[in-house]
C-alpha cells in the first residue's frame, strides 16, 4: 500500500452519471490517479481494496434495507464522506416514490414483486449517516468535484458558491429568460453550479442543483402562476431531481394541498 491519500467511490441508487464525471475529467484523470491511491472505484477498476479511505465519494440515494446498512459501513470506513449529486444529496428523481405507494410501483414494473426488496422511500445519505460535504447537481459539475477532492486533500474548505443561478446568468451576460421571453425559470431559487446553462440555451432552469439554502420558493411560484402556469405544472416542476430537498418539497406540498 502506498502512503498516498486513499480515494473511494461508492454507488447506491443512481444513474452512474455523477461518478462518470470523474472519468470525464479527461484532463485531470491521470493527475488525480497520481496524487491519490484509487482504492475502491468499481466502475473503473477491478482492484478493490478494503478501507479505511481518506475520501469517499458517494453517489446515489438509499432505497433498500441492504443499502441502508451498507452506507453505515461506508461511513465507518471513511474519514471524509462527500455525497456527489442530487440522488445522494436529496434522494434523486427516484424520490418521487415518496409521494406514492411503492407497492403499486413495484407491481406496475415487475411481474413478480416478491423478488424485489425495496424501501418505501428514496432518501438522501444525510438521513442515514453524517455527511462531511455535499455536492449538488444532476449531474454534479466536474470542476466542483475536482475542487472538493483537492481541497479536502489539502486540508482546506472547498470553495463552492451558494448563490443562485441568476448570478451566473448575469456573469455570463445572458438576458433573463423570464423577463425577456416570459419563460418560467427556477433560476432564482436554484443553487448555482451549472454556470447558468439552460438560460444560455434559451430555456428556463429546471433545478438540477436543487434549492438554495433557506430560500422562499413561494414568491417565485406565485410569479409563475401569474404568468399562467397551472398549479399542477408548478408542482411537477418542483418535483424532479431534487423533489425531496426541503424548500422544493415544502413548496410543492403547499401548492398540491390547495389543488
Amino acid at each position: 500500500m502506498s502512503d498516498k491519500p486513499r480515494l473511494a467511490v461508492f454507488k447506491f441508487a443512481s444513474c452512474d452519471g455523477c461518478q462518470l464525471s470523474l472519468l470525464d475529467a479527461e484532463d485531470h484523470l491521470l493527475a488525480v490517479a497520481e496524487a491519490v491511491e484509487i482504492a475502491n472505484f468499481a466502475e473503473a477498476s477491478r482492484d478493490i481494496t478494503p478501507g479505511p479511505y481518506d475520501v469517499s465519494l458517494v453517489e446515489g440515494s438509499i432505497t433498500t434495507p441492504h443499502d441502508a446498512e451498507r452506507i453505515r459501513e461506508v461511513r465507518r470506513d471513511s474519514k471524509f464522506l462527500v455525497t456527489i449529486g442530487a440522488c445522494a444529496t436529496a434522494g434523486g428523481i427516484q424520490a418521487l416514490r415518496n409521494w406514492k405507494d411503492v407497492r403499486d410501483f413495484t407491481s406496475y414494473v415487475y411481474a413478480n414483486p416478491q423478488y424485489i426488496e425495496t424501501l418505501s422511500t428514496s432518501t438522501p445519505v444525510k438521513n442515514h449517516v453524517e455527511v462531511d460535504f455535499e455536492l449538488r447537481g444532476c449531474p454534479i459539475s466536474k470542476e466542483q468535484l475536482i475542487e472538493v477532492v483537492s481541497a479536502l486533500l489539502h486540508g482546506r474548505r472547498p470553495n463552492i458558491p451558494s448563490f443562485s443561478v441568476c448570478v451566473e446568468c448575469k456573469r455570463r451576460g445572458t438576458p433573463c429568460v423570464m423577463v425577456a421571453q416570459g419563460i418560467p425559470c427556477l433560476g432564482p431559487i436554484t443553487q448555482a453550479g451549472c454556470n447558468g446553462l439552460c438560460p444560455a440555451y434559451e430555456r428556463g432552469c429546471f433545478g438540477c442543483f436543487g434549492p438554495m439554502e433557506s430560500v422562499n420558493a413561494a414568491s417565485l411560484t406565485g410569479k409563475w402562476m401569474e404568468m399562467g402556469v397551472k398549479s399542477s405544472d408548478v408542482v411537477r416542476a418542483l418535483r424532479t431531481y431534487n423533489a425531496y430537498a426541503e424548500p422544493f418539497r415544502e413548496a410543492s406540498d403547499a401548492i398540491a394541498a390547495t389543488e
Binding site: 452519471g17 468499481a42 473503473a44 427516484q94 410501483f105
Partner: protein, 435 residues
C-alpha cells in the same frame, strides 16, 4: 441405485462486477466437469421510472428518462422524443434531424472510447484498470482520453453538457448552434478520425480469445444510413418489422436473480443487440474509412466472436467521427430550433441505437399531453440471456484454466457487452406479455 458420491463443486463467485456501469454479479458452479449453474445477476436497486412517468407531461420524458443512465442519456432523449413525436403525428427532418444524428455521434464516440480503452482493453492486456494500464501504455491511454474528450465536447456544444444534456426538446432543440460553433470542432475531430483508425489496428492486435457463437443479431436497419434514430427492426435470421410491432415479437421476463427484465424473442430465442448486431445488419452502410479500417483489421462483414466486439466498437467510432464531420461540413443553421409538437391522445413508439444497442420506448399519452403508460426496454436487459449463454460457452471451452484465470475470462466475456446495469434495472414493467 445409490447415486455416486459427488465431488465438491467448483464455484466462481463475483459479488460485485467491476468496470461495468451499475451493480451486477456473476456466479458459476461446475461439478465433475459439468456446468450446474451460470448466473449473471443484477442487484442494482430499481428506480421505477416507468411508474412515476405516469401523470408527467409528455415533453418531460426526454429529461426524465435521461436520468436512467448517465453514460447514454442521449439515447434516452432520442427514443423518448421520437416516441412522443410519433404520438403527436410530427416528423422532425432536415437540419434538425441531422443535428440529432450529430448529437448521437458524440455519444457513440465518448461511450465507445470509454468502453474500449477504459473498461475493456485492460482485460485483454491483464491490467486491473486503465489507470494501471497507463503505467505501461501512457500514450495509448492519453490518446483514448483525448478522443473521449472530443466526443464529450461535441455533446457539450450541441447539448449544453456531456452528462444529461439540456438542449433536446420535442420537435428539435431549445437553441441550435451556429455554423461557426460546429466548425470549431472540426480540427480536433479530424485528429480523432486518424486516432480512431489507428485504434482499430491496436485493438485488433490484442490477444483475443477464440469462440464462435450462433447469434441472432437484432438492430435497426435504414435503407440509406447506418442507423441511429430511424429504421425498421431487423434480425440476422429474418425478422423485419416496424418499430410499432415491438410487443408482438418481443417479450420481457422477470426472473429472481435479476432486477432487470430479460428480453426474449417470442418466437423462442435469446438475441443479441449492440455493435456486433448493428455491424452485421448494416455493414454495407458504414462510411468508407470505417469499412476500410474493418478490412485492414481482418474482420469480415459478420463477427460472431463476442470477444471481437471491441474491434467493432472501434470501427463504429471511426464511423461516428466521419459521420460527424460530414454533418458539420454540410451544416447551415436552421431558421427555427424546433417544430411545434401539440399533444393528442395516442400511442407512440421510439426505437434508436444506443451505444449498447437497440433502445425501445413506448408511451400512451392523453389529449392533455399527460403520460398514461410508459414502457422502456434498454439494451442490457435484452442482452441478459445472451450474456448467460456466452458465459456457458466460454466456461465450457476454458475449464482447464485456473480459478483466477477463468474468473478473469468470464468477467471479460460479460464486458464484451459493455453492460449498463443502471439502465437495465430502471425500466421494467408488469405487462410482460401484451400479446
Amino acid at each position: 441405485m445409490p447415486s455416486p458420491p459427488q465431488s465438491e463443486p467448483r464455484t466462481i463467485n463475483v459479488d460485485y462486477l467491476a468496470r461495468v456501469e451499475g451493480e451486477g454479479s456473476m456466479k458459476v458452479v461446475v461439478r465433475d466437469g459439468t456446468i450446474e449453474e451460470v448466473e449473471f445477476g443484477i442487484f442494482e436497486p430499481p428506480r421505477y421510472f416507468e411508474a412515476f412517468l405516469r401523470g408527467r407531461r409528455f415533453f418531460e420524458a426526454p429529461d426524465i428518462t435521461a436520468r436512467i443512465c448517465g453514460i447514454c442519456p442521449v439515447a434516452y432523449q432520442m427514443s423518448s422524443a421520437h416516441a412522443m413525436e410519433m404520438a403527436a403525428g410530427v416528423t422532425v427532418d432536415g437540419m434538425l434531424r441531422e443535428l440529432r444524428r450529430l448529437l448521437y455521434c458524440g455519444e457513440w464516440i465518448e461511450s465507445h472510447v470509454l468502453h474500449v480503452f477504459m473498461l475493456h482493453a485492460p482485460d485483454f492486456l491483464g491490467y486491473e484498470s486503465a489507470i494501471h494500464m497507463a503505467a505501461d501504455h501512457r500514450e495509448l491511454v492519453e490518446m483514448a482520453l483525448r478522443m473521449k474528450k472530443a466526443g464529450n465536447r461535441l455533446v457539450q456544444v450541441l447539448g449544453g453538457r456531456e452528462i444529461h444534456p439540456i438542449n433536446v426538446k420535442l420537435g428539435g432543440f431549445y437553441s441550435v448552434p451556429s455554423r461557426a460553433d460546429l466548425q470549431s470542432l472540426v480540427e480536433e475531430l479530424e485528429w480523432c478520425r486518424d486516432a480512431a483508425i489507428k485504434s482499430v489496428g491496436v485493438v485488433a492486435g490484442l490477444p483475443t480469445p477464440q469462440i464462435e457463437m450462433d447469434f441472432e443479431f437484432v438492430s435497426l436497419r435504414h435503407p440509406s444510413e447506418y442507423p441511429f434514430n430511424e429504421g425498421r427492426i431487423v434480425s440476422s435470421k429474418g425478422l423485419d418489422i416496424d418499430i410499432s410491432e415491438w410487443n408482438d415479437y418481443f417479450r420481457e421476463e422477470h426472473v429472481e436473480r435479476s432486477n432487470a427484465l430479460q428480453g426474449w424473442l417470442k418466437s423462442g430465442g435469446a438475441y443479441h443487440v449492440g455493435p456486433l448486431a448493428r455491424y452485421a445488419n448494416n455493414y454495407e452502410l458504414l462510411s468508407p474509412l470505417a469499412r476500410k479500417a474493418a478490412e485492414d483489421a481482418g474482420i469480415g462483414p459478420v463477427v460472431n466472436n463476442p470477444f471481437q466486439s471491441i474491434v467493432v466498437r472501434a470501427v463504429e467510432t471511426v464511423f461516428a467521427i466521419e459521420e460527424a464531420l460530414r454533418i458539420i461540413d454540410a451544416y447551415e443553421a436552421p431558421k427555427v430550433a424546433s417544430v411545434p409538437v401539440i399533444p393528442k391522445a395516442g400511442i407512440g413508439h421510439g426505437a434508436t441505437e444506443a451505444p449498447r444497442g437497440l433502445l425501445y420506448h413506448r408511451y400512451e399519452i392523453d389529449s392533455e399531453g399527460l403520460i398514461v403508460e410508459a414502457q422502456i426496454v434498454p439494451p442490457t436487459a435484452q442482452n441478459q440471456p445472451t450474456i448467460e449463454s456466452d458465459l456457458r460457452a466460454v466456461l465450457e471451452a476454458n475449464l482447464e484454466l485456473s480459478d483466477d484465470d477463468l474468473q478473469w475470462r468470464l468477467e471479460q466475456s460479460i464486458r464484451n457487452y459493455d453492460p449498463c446495469i443502471s439502465c437495465a434495472t430502471h425500466f421494467l414493467r408488469l405487462d410482460i406479455d401484451r400479446g
